[in-house]
Amino acid sequence: MTGGSWLCLLAPLGGTIVITLLGTRISRVVAAWIATMSVFVGFGGAVWAFVVMQSRQPDSRSEITTAWTWLQSGSFKVGLELLVDPLSVVMMLIVSGVGGLIVLYSIGYMEGDDEERRYFAYISFFVFSMLLLVEGGNLLMLLIGWGLVGLSSYLLIGFWHDRPSAVQAAKKAFVMNAFGDATMALAFFILIAHTNSLSFATDFNAHLSSTAANFVALGLLGGAVAKSAQIPLQTWLPDAMEGPTPVSALIHAATMVTAGVYLIARTHPLFEQARTIELLAAGTGALTLLVAGLIALVQTDIKKVIAYSTMSQIGYMFLGAGVGAYSSGMFHLMTHAFFKALLFMTAGLIIHAVSDEQDIRKLRGLGKLMPFTKWCFLAGALALVGIPPFSGFFSKDPIISSAAALGTWYGWIFFVCGVAGALLTGLYTFRLWFLVFPGEPSPFVREHYHDHNGREGAWTMLVPVGILAVLATFAGWLQWTPHWDPFTKWLAPVAPTLPAAIPTNTQEYYTSAVAVIAGLTGIGIAWAVYSRRSLAIPAAPFWRKLFENKFYFDWLYDRIFYEPAVATANFLRRDFEDPVILQTGPDLGEATLETGGLVRRLQTGLLRTYVLFIAAGAAAVVLAFLIAR
């Protein structure tokens, strides 16, 4: 079992190292296959760990494996250790499985790019970082994975480094993530101060004072919010769409952005000691899912619509994990990884086929030209909206019904947000669908569409899309909470659902009914507005402007942080650096020269003056001694 986890972790790292060291001695295709194989070998390791774990009793499925003591300072020790337990195995399977499919897809997508080898080295490094994050056996290892994920996403978003917008997006993502890393590190410092340990077992069983517990949970929430692009640290995610599309699928859908949900599920004992903060996480999720859904309504870039939908879906996961339904959050994480990667990859197929055009106002009627893409996208879209029997239905509704199970006033607010979010999801997803796929191809599409040897894309791109379409359709059947719940049972030893968040079957049924009706209503409105055109888009210029400016978050951050920083920097440049720092050097030099000019006159070269000075000096010393006596 532990062997599988080490294999899973180290295979992608090995892939990175091999590609980096071999450099230009291998062809691009070889580099691509090394990366793909390394991630799939990692997936094999994860499956191995999963199979062994399944044969064990539920209470002995957790195992920590320590390579060596890595840091030691007095009695404070941190080992280089991995944790294999039901939660980390689920994440390992998702990360390496979906990751492997995405790397395979990249082979076709990145073909012909100038620096393919660098791309594949980065992407397997990313998978390694993500696996380190989910397998880390103590909080420090988790933080290292957390930081490395930030680094590799920076590298991947800025992969096309000759585009200024990509470089800026990469910097933005890095800075916002660094903010979260810092709050997380602060939370860990508090934990070290109170428990002198960063191991999961010690920290999770420690009883902290309520202030300490609140601060720790708040720090962890800061990290989760930054990594998962929730309000108020969400602005980096849409910009990060500057990266290659497979990167968007990998980082911004399947793995990295969901790390926040994993963090909450992993550290839930700490959050449960600070229930207010945990509910704050749920509230953040509820707010984000609405705001992101509203912004997605007016986006015109196909990838940005999907990016905002990702933010919105992670909002659901935060909502689930925040109210205490960790397994529902994790289950939605899994199905979301499938259908969102699927949506990004079908978007990638489209972008690839129409000469890198991403504006949905120009893309019309693609369904006729790309039937396979069309049906796969439809599967992903229905899963996203949560229409049975697609997977989103089985994973999203338990989250909303858990909010209903809470029952207090905030529980009902969460419930209403969740249902409203379902309506918005139906609306923005099928706006995209009705704009892009049905009908006759637009002139732009006719002019620019080119197939790939008679198919819609290279086979390396079509195969992963097909596999994910199957998963997006059927993966949800793994669990339908009113009737069978193997996933929840599987996670129960690590992250049991809080009793308050367990809904009754009645609650499940009416939530599902309401949510599906909301989703269908959204689809219906989208159909009426964008396909039949019997409903006009409401003018409401104020709201339109608000959504198009993404609720003015970027504007606000520019005013609060960026512009004051630039002003301060300019002020210091003008009034401090120039007059003080830059002027000091020459001034010192001149002063030294002047003093030297004065002092050199003492150096007469005449022996007698030197003697006179010595004699006078000696006389002065003698005199001083005489007087001092």
């Binding site: 003492l602 150096q603 007469t604 005449l606 022996l607 007698r608 003697v611």
Partner: protein, 102 residues
């Protein structure tokens, strides 16, 4: 104790030291400057020996011997310089040897 008191010896030493230092300050001839230096050193020796005898402590006499050794080596170096100057047909006037003026 025979002879004059220690004060007289010290006075003589002071006079010798003064004459020596005046010689160093005033005379221009390198050789005479060296002579005057010797005079100063020996004034110091005289004072050392006088005090040594006064306090019945042999250390002063040993110290005087060390000073003589140093004086001898100093004279060696000094006279060596004088000979070297003379060989290069340079003036022996210390005031004209002012190459090191700043």
């Amino acid at each position: 104790m025979l002879g004059p008191g220690v004060a007289w010896y010290v006075a003589v030493a002071a006079v010798l030291f003064g004459i020596g230092s005046l010689g160093v300050l005033i005379r221009r001839n390198t050789l005479v400057v060296l002579l005057s230096l010797e005079l100063m050193l020996n004034a110091g020796n005289l004072a050392l020996i006088a005090f040594s005898r006064h306090f019945h402590n042999g250390a002063g006499q040993i110290f005087a011997l060390a000073v003589m050794a140093i004086a001898a080596s100093e004279v060696c170096v000094g006279l060596g310089l004088v000979v070297a100057l003379n060989r290069r047909r340079l003036s022996l006037d210390v005031d004209r040897l002012s190459e090191l003026r700043g």
